[in-house]
Structure formats: structure tokens, C-alpha cells
Symmetry: D2
Subunit: 277 residues, 4 copies
């Protein structure tokens, strides 16, 4: 019997849980897991439910819509591996970590392809029998390059796009097209050290802890909704390169944790924040 | 309008959430917060709900009982400060931390009294205008001493008893009498270093991290359901006394976190574990 | 036999350790602990040594000067409690934590006085039999107020001044006068959320981790050399007040760790950073 | 110019640092980094120094021996990549993590070979062009099997052997032969959950934090000197398999941190503990 993940976000109202659970009960479905959250400030209601039983998607969605306020967001996904495309540039540590986890069957995903703007990572990716596409940006406008990248992505129709140290800034139109589907890892404990060379900035400031941040990509660079963060202690003896090396361990762990949350449909975007159920 | 915290634990069954939310809806109550959990192994269902509205306790409990399986545990507490009694011996760091938090209004509790088996902490406690009772164990059997302590506790009818480094082992009958109401802080990362002098044990073993554990007290010493744990890094340069000092910071933070969970009715005991919602 | 802590910072040169240890050896002193560090970028040498034996301060300092480069910084302090003055405003959590640690004998310090610009904390401080001085800033210029505060501080001739949530910005002249002696706790993980209301800023940004930073006070607000930092995990369910409460635990631990480092003469200021040996 | 790492451990004595630094100075060597530690209980002295200049090994070692107490341990290694052999069984996550770090040039090591007692990991290892040897234990006594493994190891003359989830218990004679050269990762926060299935044990006990421990292998299983530990928070919703998965991230980070310490000659074994300089 297949499991489904039901996600609902809507304006809070009296009787929401009652009405939703009535529909599930009437459809003879089991609730395997259930979590709700109401934002006390915005009065937005969030619910993530894992249901099992004989799910008839169209009927269920229709009946839920009838009991929910107009404009509610409802998604109903089968609880299964998601198709993913990775974007990278030259750095291998984050990409390599994802690939090795994938090969150890630690990721609930199908990695359909890796697209990079340089050739450097081809041999690494091909070790794992994953298609690698190099789309160089040389002699192309940003628009032209993104169009090619976007076409290649669309061939695989991924549910998620992971920027595994993809070092190019995405245009508004690209971000909008894949809105809510693009996960990035930023190599600092945001909002500290926005922009280039965060490890050098951290070194210059003499901080005692560095970190990494996984976030959705939005139009504002490094400003998207934060999904997961973690840190590691450093001290005066660290050069900025040693900070970067220490930070790389954190980047890997942070990205893989955030990725897992997305693969399990646990994340809601709420304004510029995330709700994780 | 008063808020109430409803806690339910029972055997899982189809339609539980539906039936419970139906009762709340019929009583015209708002669900301010709601969390559920089903243990996949034992099929036990847990629910913690903060409700607001005109709560008529007797009726609500009756109606909930009617829709829940026989033998369900249901509690309905007003969301307000709990009465607490602290037990201590001679060490001041944990007790002092609780008292200073209390005086800074950081605890959602009324500390009604401190009971100790030595006089050492009297002046500290009386600084904060809290009644201090010394019940010496000298020349008394364990049974006699516990009877006196128990009588004193009962004068204050506390909802919680916190062992703030109370260095006496409690008898079965004492533990049973206050079952589910006694919080202890153990100065190690349980189950490592059970028993006496855990910091010395940790020092001897050469561990690189030490910790503390807050748990419910049960008959098995240091074996009760764990509520909260935390750790701190140490290194070869720490003497065991320095480990103890580093550990004390952790003890304070762990106890105050666990205490807050209990004060907010967030903890369920499930066999020898806790479910925290 | 008294222990002394010798701290040296100077330009690195071949034979420094040899020359220093020769002097200590010739004076028949034991090296109880020793740590050195050379900044690979600035080539500055740092050394902290605990020595025991019959220390004749004037002679020892003279002989060390003779073997060290011109302009070396040498300090030689007896390893004993330092005199400290605390500055506060209205918030009790950090001050209370220091006082209760002090009363539990956890601090290697003599707290000579607490100076505040409001009366609110008087009863708390006087519980611990520590002199409390309220110097109101009302109707005074910043200059006039600081002059009074400074005079009061100087009566106690402290080796360290701890800002335990002192909510006034210090003038350049004040900072210069007590340069290298003033410890502050900032309620964010610097450099994130500089300025007012960091917990509100953190809440608005939707971060998943918050922190606190202890630093030396310099002219640039929140920009002084960082001594210690720590963090705690939060999630979407935290209001900004709950973030603040969670942060307060971190503030206390961070300040008390940094304070201990200073009380043990372990911190060197190097440009805008710290070296901790 | 080559750097060398000098490690000394010996009984503490007055003038040790002076005498050692005199020899280095007389040989016209630069001290690039230097750290010492004296165990206050055992009075053992430890020193790790990175020196540069024209190092004449034989002469330098001879002159150091002359100024050090009889029975001192002195090692002088060039600061360069160490040769390493990895042992594994069937689990890929730790081995894969090491291989991908190696391929990203994150390890200061030459991985000469992987030896396993099963064939499962061959394709993974061969992706990285590293020799893989399967030495099955089937139909062999422990002694016979270890002899074959040992012969294979010796072909590569490694400075370090890393047990990357090698699931066989080593005999005394094997351990003695490679004493101080064998690094193991244990999948629990030792000394909690010694023995088999630590994640299941942790699950049964209901702990709120799990961890991993990297240690030297000695005759007492899981009792060797601890090098590095780390932890991760879990809660009631984790099945034991989810605990294991969360723990695997920690295992990887812990092993790679401990490995790096060994590769940089930072670890001294002192009785059953480690001193890390």
C-alpha cells in the first residue's frame, strides 16, 4: 500500500483540523504521521500528514478543497524518491559528498544529471554513472547561458534543483521559473558574511565559530528562506584556508540535512522564512 | 480568556484526530497549538493541544472520554505557573541557578519551598525569600527521613519536585508516591558513567566530550526516562575538577531546559522513554 | 609558593623561546604550563607561561627585557583573583548569573562593586552583599555621566570591567582610558545582527541558529576583538521573545566563559582579534 | 625548504624547554609552531614542534638525545603525506566518505590500498583507482586470516591503518604488531553503548543525543585511547534506523577529524588517553 504526503497551507480558521480529518476519515485513510503549526503572527496554518490506504488523488483533492478556504495551497505527493538535477562549477567537495551519499543509497532521490559551467567535475561525476553536461558560459550572455541550462534541466523535469557550489548568480527569470525548487548552500552562517569570500571575511573579523546555511534561492542573493544551518568552532590558529576546510565539513552536513528535509516534503515557504514539520 | 493544555495518550485507532477535533469544534474551542505523535512500534498515540475559548472542564473531559478508547490518559491543565518544591543537599550551583532564574522571572513556576538534608544552603535560599527547611538524616533510618521529607513536601502540594543535586537515593515507595513528578539532573551523559563521581570516571577514561542528563526519577537509579541532554567539549588539559566545572554549566542548562518542558506540559512518559511534543 | 603568569607578545625572531627559557632556567624557576603561538601572517609571537619558584619580579622583568626585542609587551601577574567592577542597566539575567556564580565560588574574581544607571537591580545586588551604586544619566550629558561612572570605577581600581548588559554606548575617551580591560556581551552571533534588537532581527530573517558574542570593547560598537561565541538552535515556532529567552542562556554561558579566560590571563589582543593560549 | 615535525615525550624536568630550544637554536633551525603540555598528575612532558631550516636528522636526534632524560620518546618526521591502508567490510558510508575526500584532495595522505573481508566494496573502491584486495575469512581461523591481512598490509608499509567500519575483532598479536598505528571509528559516544548494535541500544534507552568516537585500537575492544568525539541531537520520533542514519554523518566527521590529527602528527598516546597538541 502506497503512502502519500499531504501538505496544506492556508489561513487559519476554526475547525480546520476537524474538517480535514473528517475528509480523511470518510475516505477510510490512515494518518501515519501528522504535524500542524499556526503562525501566531500571520495566522497562517500549516499541516503535513502522511496518509496510507487506498488514496484516490483526484477525489481526495476535490473533497479537501471543498472544506478549505479559497486560495489554500494543497499538495499531495506519493512518498517516493524525487527526481533531482545538480548544478555545479569547479569545486568538488559538496558535489562529491552528494554523489557518494547517493551511491551509498543515503539519499531518497534520483540524481538525473549534473550540469556544470566547466569541465573539471566530469570525471568525478562519470565515476558514478551519472550524466554530466558541461554548458560553458564563455562567449554567451547570461540570458543565453541560462536558456541553455534551463533547456537541459527541463529535459529531466526535476522536482528539485540543487546548487552544489554553482558559482553563478541566477537571473530573476530563472529563479522565478523554478521558484520553490532550488536549494543552495551558502558557505557562511547567514546573515553574517554575505557575498564573496565569506571565509576570508570570517578570518578578518576573528570570529570563533563559522557556519554554513542552506536556503531556497530567491531573487535576493543570499537572502532566500533559510532551511538549515550549522556551525563549527575555530580559533586564532586557523588561517582562512583552514577555516574554509573546517567549513567544508559543515557545508556538506548542512546541505545534506536540508536536502533530506526537501526530499521528505517537510518544508513550507512562508514569506521569507521556512516552516519545517 | 484562559488557555488550557490538553494531553492525551492512548492506543492509536483510525479517526482519533477526527473524533477529538470534533469534540473541540462542537465545544466551540480554538486550537492554538497542536502536535501529535504515533509510536510506530507500540502504536501508542500522543497528542498535546493548547485550546482557548470557554472551557468547561468536566463536560469537555466527559465528551472526550466518550470518543476515546477505554484506558486513555487524558489531562486538562490550565496554562499557568506550576507549584514546585526543590530538594537539595550541599552543592549550590544548580540550586543557585534555579533561584536566580526564578528571581529574574525566567521560570513559569512558583517555588514554594526548598528542602535539604543539610543546613549549608539556607542563607542562599533565604536571600530569595523562599522557605528553607533542613531535614537532617542524622540518626534516622532512610524510611524515617523520607517520611519527614514527604510530609514537608505534601504541605505544599507541588505539581513538580526538582532534585537540584539532592544526593540521597530515594526509596521505591517514595518514588512511587511521586511517580511522574520528580525531575533529576545527573552529572553525566547517561548512560555513560552511571553511579558515583562521573567526572572522575570521565577523566579516567579520557573522553573528549562530557555531558549532563535530566530525567524522571524511577526506581532504577539513573535509569529513568531521559528528558534532555547536552554536552560540552573538553581536552587532555582538563583535570577532573575542571571537567566538573565545565560540566556544571551543562548541568544548569540541561536542568533548566528540562524543567521548562515539564512546566509547559510538553513531556509524556512512554515506557522508559519520553515523547516531547 | 606563589605562581606567576608571564605573558609576552613581540615580533617573532629566531631563538626567542631559547632566550626566554634561558632566563627562566637561570632564575631557577619551574615552567608549570607553557603555550606559544606565532601568527604566520603578522609574524607576531605570543607566549603565556605559568612559572613557580622564588620569583623576583623586578629582576626577572629586567632580564627578560634584555633578551627580547625592543617594544616587546611583557606582563607578569601573580596567579590570583582579580578585582572586578560590573556595569549594568536594568536587565537581571546576565548580572544575576554572574552574582550567583560568584556566590557559589565559581569565579576567580573579587566583585568590588556594581554600578548601574538605574535603580532596578539594587535589591538583587544587595542580596549578595556587594556594593551597588546607581549613577543616573538623567539630566546629564554623556560626558558628565561617564565622568561620574569613571570616578566610581577608579575608587575600586579594578583590573577588569564587565558590561553585564550595560545599555549605554561608551565614548571614545572612556574606552581608551580602560583599553583592554572592558568585556562586553553582545546578544547576537556577531557579525550577524549588529545594533539594536538582534533577536528581533534574527526572528525577521528566519535563522535556525542564534548566538551570543563576548568581546573587548573598542571604539567601534560591536566591532571589538571577539573572545568567545556560542550558539543554540531555534526553529519556526519561536517568537522573537522565545528566541531572546533561548539566547539568554547562551549569553550567560558565553560571558562566563570569556570572563574566565580573562581572569586567567589567557587572552592576547592582536590587532582586532584575540589570541587565546 | 622542508619542514619537520618533532615530537618528544619524556619525564618532566627543570630546563627541558631550555635544553631543547638550545639544540634547535644551535642547529640554526626556525621554530614554526610549538606546543607543550605537562600532565600535572603523571609529570609527563609532551612537545610538538614544527621546525624549518636545514635539518640534519641524525645529528639533530643525537644532540636532542644528549640533553633529554634516558628513555625519552623522540620522533622526527618530515611534514608530508603519510602512506595509509584502509580496512573495511561491507558498509560503504565511512569508506566512501574517505575516498571522496581523498579524491577532492582533502586528506594529507596516500591511500595505498583498501583491504576487505568481503567483495561488496570493490566497485566503489575501484572507481577511485585504488587497489582493492578481498581477503575472505571463510574457512580460515582468525589467526590464518589475520596473517594474510597482515602480509597484504605489510606490502604497502603504511604509517597508519584506518578501520573504516572493519567489523572483525582484532587479535592481541595483530594489535601489538601495529601498536599506535591503528585508528578505529566506533558508532557510539563511548563509553556509552559498548559492544554490538549501539544505535539499537541508544534507541532502547531513549537518549536525546547520539555520537561517535574515534580511538586507537588496543587489546580491549572499544577501550583504546580516545582521539575525537562528536554528537548529534535526536528525539523520540527517530526509529533506530534513523538514529543510525543520523549517526553516520557524525561517524564520518569524527573519523575524518581524528584522521587529520594523526596525519599531522598531533596525537600522543599517554597511558590510555591521548594528548593532542
Amino acid at each position: 500500500m502506497q503512502e502519500y504526503i499531504l501538505k496544506i497551507s492556508t489561513k487559519d480558521a476554526k475547525g480546520l483540523i476537524y474538517n480535514i480529518s473528517k475528509v480523511l476519515f470518510a475516505n477510510n485513510l490512515n494518518i501515519e504521521q501528522n504535524a500542524e503549526y499556526v503562525d501566531p503572527e500571520t495566522k497562517e496554518f500549516f499541516m503535513r500528514t502522511i496518509i496510507s490506504g487506498k488514496v484516490m488523488q483526484t477525489i481526495l483533492l476535490k473533497e479537501l478543497k471543498e472544506v478549505l478556504p479559497l486560495g489554500s495551497n494543497i499538495t499531495l505527493n506519493q512518498n517516493k524518491r524525487k527526481d533531482v538535477v545538480l548544478l555545479a562549477t569547479k569545486e568538488s567537495h559538496v558535489l562529491g559528498d552528494l554523489l557518494i551519499r547517493y551511491s551509498s543509497n543515503e539519499l531518497n532521490a534520483n540524481i538525473k544529471a549534473v550540469i556544470a559551467n566547466h569541465e573539471d567535475l566530469r570525471s568525478l561525476v562519470e565515476k558514478f554513472d551519472i550524466p554530466f553536461f558541461c554548458i560553458s558560459a564563455t562567449n554567451l550572455t547570461k540570458e543565453e547561458h541560462e536558456k541553455l541550462v534551463s533547456q537541459k534541466i527541463d529535459e529531466f523535469n526535476p522536482e528539485l534543483i540543487v546548487l552544489a557550489k554553482y558559482m553563478r548568480i541566477l537571473s530573476s527569470s530563472f529563479v522565478e521559473k523554478y521558484c520553490g525548487k532550488v536549494l543552495n548552500i551558502h558557505h557562511s552562517f547567514l546573515p553574517a558574511f554575505i557575498g564573496a569570500n565569506p571565509y576570508k571575511q570570517a578570518f578578518e573579523r576573528g570570529v570563533k565559530i563559522i557556519g554554513a546555511t542552506a536556503h531556497y534561492v530567491t531573487n535576493d542573493l543570499d537572502e532566500g528562506p533559510i532551511i538549515y544551518q550549522d556551525v563549527v568552532r575555530v580559533d586564532h590558529s586557523y588561517s582562512w584556508e583552514e577555516m574554509r576546510n573546517a567549513g567544508r565539513n559543515v557545508e556538506k552536513v548542512v546541505l545534506s540535512n536540508a536536502f533530506e528535509l526537501l526530499l521528505n516534503d517537510k518544508v513550507f515557504i512562508h514569506r521569507n522564512k521556512t516552516v519545517i514539520l
